[in-house]
């Protein structure tokens, strides 16, 4: 036992060590991409409104007249202290944007993953277990269609049908205004705050608001899960240890569930990790479609007002999130699959 936890700890430390160069490369990329655009952030944001002298002064204040390498050093230092800069257009610190608006994106993403797994795992397993049945065919078509449909299109359709036409669900925002005002802010995650304060009406209201966005974003990635789990299960069911289990007279239901299902679900976590970037991209569009003021909406707003500092800060944050999540995914994998630890 102690030997195993030892190897797990070593694995975790190694994996964290490997993340350092990854973060550095990402930061260089973000920094360079932000400078490739013509001009500098200040003139881009406020070019039309200021005299050249004022511009030069602002540039000096923000440090954009320094050599690039120095600028990069300062960028690096501030990111390492989790300071993502201050926006040019409205003077907010990017960190506070992340704290105040991140909750929406988090709620959206987590709910979408729940939808994708809740739908994808059983559908994938059923399709694989009863391959070539009518249900299998329908499931496969469903997987391909949801995968190929653009998010905003799906979102708009859902809005049209369930909000405008049927009137079952609200079409935008994360809650009614009154609800938002009445829920005391603790975590900046509205759904969580409502749960903590025990306002069940508010919870229900928020849930209704998030339902369509969750499904829209969840459907974007569910197809990948269905297809992967189905193929995995089909292969696992023909696998060597499954045949060996049958040869020992293990009950067929145990063979399918304990041997085949469990093994076919191992790569799910990995695929989830690979889908994180896709999920964040989809979240940006979903937030825009459903008028949710998450980080995605903020990013689009700041892009429109050419606020490069804000964009750089948010993109840096997104990149760090992807790195951290992929690291967590690897840890979870090591816990599930004993072969991963070395």
């Amino acid at each position: 036992m102690s030997k195993q936890s030892g190897s797990l700890r070593r694995y975790v430390l190694t994996r964290i060590g490997l993340a350092v160069p990854m973060v550095l490369i990402l930061l260089v990329l973000v920094f360079v991409l932000m400078r490739v655009a013509p001009g500098d952030p200040i003139s881009a944001a406020q070019g039309g409104h200021l005299t050249p002298a004022q511009l030069a002064q602002k540039r000096h204040q923000a440090g954009f007249d320094k050599p690039l390498i120095l600028q990069f050093w300062e960028y690096l230092r501030s990111v390492l202290t989790l300071n993502f800069g201050t926006t040019i257009s409205d003077g907010r610190s990017v960190s506070s944007i992340i704290v105040q608006n991140g909750g929406v994106t988090l709620t959206l993403a987590v709910g979408a993953v729940v939808v994708a797994l809740g739908l994808g795992v059983p559908l994938g397993l059923l399709a694989g277990r009863y391959r070539d049945s009518a249900g299998d065919t329908v499931t496969r078509v469903f997987a391909i269609v949801t995968y190929a449909t653009p998010v905003f299109f799906l979102g708009l359709l859902a809005q049209l049908l369930f909000s405008s036409h049927l009137g079952w669900l609200p079409s935008s925002g994360q809650a009614d205004t009154l609800v938002q005002l009445n829920v005391p802010t603790k975590t900046h995650i509205l759904l969580l705050d409502a749960l903590i304060s025990g306002q069940w009406d508010a919870v229900w209201n928020i849930f209704q608001h998030y339902l369509l966005p969750w499904i829209t974003l969840g459907l974007l990635i569910v197809g990948v899960f269905i297809r992967m789990i189905r193929i995995n299960l089909i292969q696992t069911l023909q696998g060597d240890y499954v045949e060996a289990a049958r040869a020992r007279g293990i009950k067929e239901s145990d063979v399918v569930v304990k041997h085949a299902f469990r093994n076919s679900l191992v790569p799910v976590v990995t695929v989830l990790g690979l889908q994180i970037a896709m999920l964040l991209g989809g979240a940006v569009l979903t937030e825009k479609t459903f008028n949710l003021s998450g980080l995605g909406s903020m990013l689009i707003n700041y892009i429109n007002s050419r606020d490069y500092i804000a964009v750089q800060g948010l993109v840096t944050f997104f990149a760090l999130v992807v790195v951290v999540i992929s690291m967590l995914i690897d840890f979870i994998n090591a816990l599930i699959d004993p072969r991963v630890r070395y």
Binding site: D240, E243, R248, D254, V266, P338
Partner: protein
């Protein structure tokens, strides 16, 4: 017929009736459906195995050995058709339901596989494999009893108790095969098929495994079918041998007798092509085993047989029981039986088959 055999009375060890076969196979056929037509991988096979006896099953790759081994245990893959009789202690296994077969596998029937590396569930500890197997067939066992039985079986295979809770990937190939054997034998099945259990292992480990299997029949009266293409193993570990070619058993008999005086030309060729101390130069049988969708007419070996006669290409030779107790399916023995050769081949049937034809057919196959 009565098909319920979930709890046959256990045969008292040592006093088992060694003359009566524990398993007797009659006219067994296994086909695989393929787009090109049925592959007759096992085509009318008969054999018996007695308690404590080891039957070696040999033949080139693709002759249907694995199919036969699995077919006997009711483990033919989905889409395969099985017909004939597999009599196990008075029950025809072929007519049993999936559920009845499942209950027999483990406590009565066992299978040891060729590649041990992939046969254990990578997510389950060795202990969990044993617990699952034991609890499935003996639900009343306590945790301690499970542990005791499993450790005893593992000890018999030289796996120390300290490794009981390890995962499969923490073992070498040889150890995994010994674990697989322990797992197959933990419930003391009366009949076991070992399908090339040492092919994937190195020579030292092979010797070890063969010794374990040889001990098995001595200590537990287990009847064993040992599939191998290593004739050395058969000579060392088997009482009797069955030689398989293109889905049929062509020669069968006492292992020492068959090796000393092989009667069927295929057996002779197979023995010639093994490496031994006296071998100078390597002999091999020209051509390859035939396509089993459209096997050759007559004797299936005739396109490759150095002793083929005209009748061989036209009519299938019958099984002939020889004085030695062996059986052989070859016209060289069958021609002496009055009336065996059909009248239309009586005159020229014994003439050698033209060499040219022999080669062209062999190349085609």
């Amino acid at each position: 017929m009565s098909a319920h055999v979930t709890s046959p009375e256990p045969a008292p060890a040592g006093t088992a009736d060694t003359s009566r076969p524990v398993l007797s196979v009659r006219d067994l056929r296994v086909w695989y459906g393929t787009p090109r037509g049925p592959v007759r991988a096992v085509d009318s096979v008969d054999f018996d195995v007695r308690p404590g006896e080891t039957l070696g099953l040999v033949g080139e790759s693709g002759c249907g050995k694995s199919t036969l081994g699995r077919g006997v245990l009711g483990l033919a893959p989905e889409g395969a058709a099985v017909d004939g009789e597999v009599n196990f202690r008075g029950t025809n296994l072929v007519s049993l339901s999936k559920k009845q077969l499942q209950e027999l596998r483990g406590p009565e029937l066992g299978l040891i596989f060729q590649e041990p590396m992939t046969r254990l569930n990578p997510l389950m500890r060795i202990s969990e494999h044993f617990a699952e197997t034991l609890k499935t067939h003996e639900p009343g066992l306590t945790k301690d009893q499970v542990r005791e039985r499993a450790l005893e079986a593992l000890r018999g295979m030289g796996i120390p108790p300290s490794r009981y809770h390890n995962y499969p990937h923490e073992f070498s190939g040889g150890m995994r095969q010994r674990i697989m054997i322990a797992l197959a034998l933990v419930l003391r099945p009366a009949f076991v098929v070992a399908d090339e259990p040492t092919t994937a292992l190195d020579v030292l480990v092979e010797a070890q495994i063969i010794r374990i299997l040889a001990d098995l029949r001595r200590n537990f009266d287990t009847a064993l079918v040992l599939i191998t293409h290593n004739l050395g193993i058969v000579a060392e570990a088997c009482d009797r041998v069955a030689v398989m070619y293109a889905g049929r058993i062509v020669e069968q008999g006492d292992a020492r007798e068959v090796f000393a005086r092989p009667q069927h030309p295929y057996t002779q060729e197979l023995l010639r092509s093994t490496i031994s101390l006296s071998t100078t130069g390597l002999h091999y049988i020209p051509g390859a085993p035939p396509d089993l969708v459209e096997p050759p007419t007559g004797c299936r070996f005739h396109p490759r047989c150095p002793k083929a006669m005209k009748v061989c290409a036209a009519v299938e030779p019958p099984d002939v029981l020889l004085n030695s107790g062996s059986t052989s399916a070859c016209w060289h023995q069958a021609q002496n039986i009055a009336g065996a050769i059909p009248p239309e081949h009586a005159t020229d049937g014994r003439e050698p088959l033209a060499l040219a034809e022999e080669i062209s057919v062999a190349d085609e196959a």
